[in-house]
């Protein structure tokens, strides 16, 4: 009892300088909070504006019919399906390659080895290459050198190279988050490295890898520059029948009708933008939800 009494009597008294410091701190907290808010407001404004101006264009018919009247009316079916084609094939190419590369970097690659460093640097650089340079690469390599022509395949492979770093980095992070003790326990039982990876590491990292793949989908769906010259067309009156055909794509369609075609009623490009952003938003929400679910499930 006595102790407590002494403690309260000699309580810390805030001096003017302390009060001032606390006020300065509050001021900066509000300032930085507002700065963060400045980054949040555009997202809300954009969603609101697109919904308001493009919402009226969205209908079942809009999603399931061809553009008509020189793209000033009608729907977006070929662009929507084209984007699905492009994303699906780019996934087929980049996911096995990216996940395997991440497994090599995380499970096999010797640490602090020059080659490991070169691979890491290359991954960073690949992620930083401007999208239009990826387009030039796709044109030079896939369209011309490998004779794929301007086709869905060439465009998808260009997208795959472009989104590869996303898959590699996300998969690597999720493989690294599996505790090292899991691997050691497995090796001690006499398992080979590959058995350890297949039966222990991969199952535990799977959800995280999936998050990365989902993000890759969202990135690939929104890209325009890499597909412009490698396989996407401004307008095609038919649906692609094989991967060697050209296709329309949602992102390029938005560019076309908002800059190249005169006299398009305003709600159509807003509708296309809304569909494109909506797809990306839904995919990203799935990824975020999956990540939160994963974190709550984590047992270690």
């Amino acid at each position: 009892m006595n102790q407590t009494a002494t403690h309260t009597s000699t309580r810390f008294q805030a001096e003017p300088i302390n009060l001032k410091n606390i006020q300065v701190q509050k001021l900066f907290m509000i300032l930085f909070g507002l700065m963060a808010a400045v980054l949040v407001i555009p997202v809300i404004l954009i969603i609101f504006t697109l919904l308001q101006k493009g919402g009226s264009a969205i209908s079942w018919e809009f999603l399931t019919t061809f553009p008509s009247n020189g793209m000033t009316a009608g729907g977006i079916l070929p662009a929507l399906l084209g984007t699905v084609w492009l994303v699906a094939i780019s996934l087929l190419a980049s996911v096995p390659l990216g996940v395997a590369a991440a497994i090599y970097l995380s499970e096999y690659a010797p640490q602090d080895h020059w080659l490991t460093r070169v691979i890491n640097l290359a991954t960073i650089n690949l992620a930083g290459v401007p999208s239009i340079v990826h387009a030039l690469f796709g044109l030079g390599a896939f369209v011309a050198f490998f004779h794929l022509g301007t086709s869905i395949l060439a465009a998808s492979l260009t997208l795959a190279v472009m989104t590869l770093p996303v898959v590699i980095v996300a998969s690597w992070e999720s493989l690294q988050s599996v505790p090292f003790a899991f691997r050691e326990a497995c090796w001690n039982m006499g398992a080979t490295r590959w058995q350890t990876i297949w039966h222990v590491v991969l199952p535990n990292a799977l959800t995280g890898i999936l998050t990365g793949i989902i993000l890759q989908v969202s990135r690939a769906a929104g890209e325009t520059a890499p597909i412009m010259f490698t396989g996407a067309a401004f307008f095609l009156p038919f649906l692609p029948s094989s991967v060697m055909d050209q296709t329309m794509a949602l992102a390029l369609h938005l560019f076309t009708i908002s800059t190249q075609v005169p006299g398009v009623p305003e709600q159509i490009p807003f509708g296309v933008a809304l569909v494109l952003f909506g797809i990306v938003l839904i995919i990203n929400t799935c990824s975020i939800w999956l990540r939160m679910y994963l974190r709550s499930k984590k047992k270690w």
Partner: protein, 310 residues
Amino acid sequence: MSIPLEKASTLVAAGDVRNRDWYIDKLFHSFMFICGISAVIFVLGIFVFVFKEGSGFIIHQLDWAEFFLSPKWRPTSAIQASYGTLAMVAGTAAVTLISMAVALPFSFGAAIFIAEFARGKTREWLKVVIELLAAIPSVVWGFIGLMIMNPLIIDIFDVPIGLNVLNSGIILGLMAAPIITSIAEDAFKAVPDTYREAAEALGATKWQVIYKVVLPAAKNGLLSAALLGVGRAFGETMAVLMASGHALTIPGSVFDSIRALTATIAAELGETPVGSDHYQALFAIGIFLFSITFIINMTADLIVRGIKNQ
């Protein structure tokens, strides 16, 4: 040839049995290695293929002084074609500068708020929304610049054209902000908590801790965040093509329309005959873009590695 006794005994001791599992393991190891070096192959591939298409022009046609110092980009002129990129370089530089002026303060502020002030749900939500900002496709950004920002700028500043340096700078700033924020936040997180605790134990307020301890310790990380932001803004194509006005002038003010290096390739590549001088000149611009982003990324990595070695 027999295995030396010494080595053989260690092999046996390590339980090296070359059965089916051993070979499967070796097989997968080789496969993963090949996939592992794919990123290196692609970076080299990009360089080789872009260079291959542009090399003829660079070796035989290119007048270096004209390429870098002349603002006249007249690739289709029948009388005298000229390939000067100065106006585009200036345009790209102006837009990148404005975008960083927009992005850096807000990104660093937001990163400080997320890393040092925000807790729990607020923090989670902020990170999610900023991630969504990063997810908006560049063509949607360009569309917003064209349809929303353009009339807004015309109204507010009373200028004839809203598609200019300011418009594309703001758009690119918002596009680069999430990346800068997330890397800057990582840099703050990398500062050990013991630094903060030591400062707080001396009676420092949170702001004093941030200003005097965390910021100096994280400065290299912030620098590399800024560099990667520059790289992002510099290499952006569709948004800047749609929002910058695409006019070949050296900008004198933020209300001038400009044309970016990336946008030039995107706008002209579709209309040039394969293999023509014009076509090759566009690939030469591609090599230039690739080299610059390569240097930016390497520098950012060196700075980050510098932190780790300290």
